[in-house]
Symmetry: C3
Subunit: 328 residues, 3 copies
Amino acid sequence: MAIRLGEIVDALGGELEGDRAQSIERLAPLATAQRDAISFLSNPKYRKELAASKAGCVIVAPSMRESAAERGAFIVASDPYLYFARLTQLWRKTHARPDTALIHPSAVIDPDATIDPTARIGALCVVERGARIGADTVLKSRVTVSEDCIIGDRCLLHPGVVIGADGFGLAPHEGAWVKIEQLGAVRIGNDVEIGANTCIDRGALEDTVIEDGVKLDNLIQIGHNVRIGKHTAMAGCAAVAGSATIGAHCTIGGRAGVLGHLTIADHVHISSTSLVTRSIHKPGHYTGVFPIDDNAAWEKNAATLKQLHSLRERLKALEKMTMQDKKS
Amino acid sequence: MAIRLGEIVDALGGELEGDRAQSIERLAPLATAQRDAISFLSNPKYRKELAASKAGCVIVAPSMRESAAERGAFIVASDPYLYFARLTQLWRKTHARPDTALIHPSAVIDPDATIDPTARIGALCVVERGARIGADTVLKSRVTVSEDCIIGDRCLLHPGVVIGADGFGLAPHEGAWVKIEQLGAVRIGNDVEIGANTCIDRGALEDTVIEDGVKLDNLIQIGHNVRIGKHTAMAGCAAVAGSATIGAHCTIGGRAGVLGHLTIADHVHISSTSLVTRSIHKPGHYTGVFPIDDNAAWEKNAATLKQLHSLRERLKALEKMTMQDKKS
Amino acid sequence: MAIRLGEIVDALGGELEGDRAQSIERLAPLATAQRDAISFLSNPKYRKELAASKAGCVIVAPSMRESAAERGAFIVASDPYLYFARLTQLWRKTHARPDTALIHPSAVIDPDATIDPTARIGALCVVERGARIGADTVLKSRVTVSEDCIIGDRCLLHPGVVIGADGFGLAPHEGAWVKIEQLGAVRIGNDVEIGANTCIDRGALEDTVIEDGVKLDNLIQIGHNVRIGKHTAMAGCAAVAGSATIGAHCTIGGRAGVLGHLTIADHVHISSTSLVTRSIHKPGHYTGVFPIDDNAAWEKNAATLKQLHSLRERLKALEKMTMQDKKS
């Protein structure tokens, strides 16, 4: 299962300083890599770890060439992290075990679903009527794609994903709730990855839309009629309420939330846990998190927080009084 | 698949101004509706959208009759949003594709489970022994209903729902945890809807109870021995810890939390993301969310927040000093 | 299905005051227990409930002996809550219904997976190639254990659990994301319990590790290369980002979060909902939650919070001015 350094640079480019025939048995972090492993350094602040690493070869940026040269074989790449990403893909490809059927026999596929002949549908998946699954798309085990939902090409859906459950649509009536049937579907573009147990609801009238290249981590909730722009990435447990529109190239931190019907511009970055309560029209980095503290300190500050507005009023009064004193 | 305006008002009431024979091909929002669509206006603030809409027919409140008349066919209903909800249901009913078996052959139903003959059990569901599923209840695909759990009539459980997993019960013992077997079950009333991948744990000794008409969105966690009162609705990713009791007609926002053993009165509304840390005995609207800001401003304010209590003390001291100056 | 008091103390120890032949039909809380039930009192503050309880027998601490004696049969145990936990286990064992096959025929087990002959694999589980499941471990229904992941002995995985989905690894490149294949796996120790729909991601290069005795509630997200120390417990909807290391004997409250690459010492307790944004090296109790309030009060305080830093500056200025006045 080994790969030679020469094969790596032949496949991925980069400039190798070292023996093309040297054999690599695994990929490993700098700190734990041994002679049989290749590693990488993407951040100059780990320079010390580079010197100490026992890795058989390291991938480095041009600026690290000299430091790398002191310790053995290395590959120079303009973006070592990207190079490393591609190396993991090469590794996966060369180490792929022969796969079984493209459509696992335990999957439940409606005869009126359309599955591209190159798609892979894992064990115990459900693909309902009218659904379409694009070329080279992979559904791991236990994924549900509901009626009429569309998944593009080269997508990867992890176990437990639910595409196209009903959005949460209710009209109040005499103290009870009347269901609004969700007549839209979900449309997912190309190159989208969706993490385990993440849910994307179908639209009420029109479709929920996930554009090309979007990456969603695990346990994320996407409400009905949300639209997520190209190449936006969202970390685990994020939640987007109905009819929100999120731009392209955004990053939404883990556990962050977006209220319904808001608009978020392109290139907006939301910190973990923060709740977006108003539309954001300017690119930038936004945060709203209560700082963690030891519990005793938190209790004091949290209690005072409930008087914050009145503290401001008291400060104002005091300022006024002091100013008057000055004048008098 | 079209429906005529006359058929709509025959089924749902309302006052039609327009041609009973006019054919409707779809339901659509005002902004995107074309001649072949019916739309609705529930909020007078969207009056402008009404005027601009190309919809073939709109559902409006009596107060909007004149505005609606300027643009074509319309139906007057006392509550247009409710009327629209019922129209989605009519639409779904008239457009239903013939369903396959009531119990999908891939579902795993214990012989000692009791399934009402009108219930529908979707693909790859699991219904364990002693469980009971009521009349006209629908389990979509990949739902688990564990031992002895009871689901009422006309319920709708979306994919990935887990009813009756063990509650999180542990007794500490010499640095480790001893499991408390969860001997209760889950009892769910009638007309309850439960969103995708939502979990409702079985009780420790007695049952976890979800009363009639409760609506739960996706990815919600309901701990053991929780009780949720009638017609309470909870948005996505909310979480209720063990033994909390939530009243009837409450709304719990998305990502909100309720600590264990608390009681929340009827008609309480909790904002998204807020954590309920004490019992709430008065109806009303409650919130606890750190306001989002651009990250630089947040950093300053969050850092200062850690000194809030001491700021209050300093303010107090200053007030005292100023007051003394006044007196002297 | 009844059990006699004598059988209980024979199995679990403790000192019985009462009739060994007295029959117990159920376990129940003090408040609702009837003559046929056994209950327990773990917290002296519920002393009143003890006096009022109709339970046929109660488990109490030595200090409660006299109060218990006033009302009927009782068992004295040094730790009544622990005794009660063990009683639930005894109850479960004596009431176990005969189980069907160890491996449910609907489960999809790869021929290259290794399942201990004493393990139980529930309906519609997926165990992929290279995975190993230890002795006496139970996978309830609809659990996925992905390629090469290892589960120890005596573990309990609830429905919908996903072990070994890909971690969220992406390298940015020209505005898009390049996938980092996740080449590590997940290693789970002995006596670990994992709640419904919880996800534990596989490592990027090395493994994600869950040590012995860890207890995870429902809907928890554990990122790639996280390590969780022995006997740490985490409540529902908690989330731990990639490469975080959490010590032993910690408790992480529900909905709490831990950012990536942080280290948390042993014996750290994080309150519900709090976000850990920096490493914690000292045992203790940490909190960061915006206190809930009625919405009107919250609005005022939250608005003022955005000026908190400038309020501090104004206070400083005022202090300086007042001090100067004093001096002059």
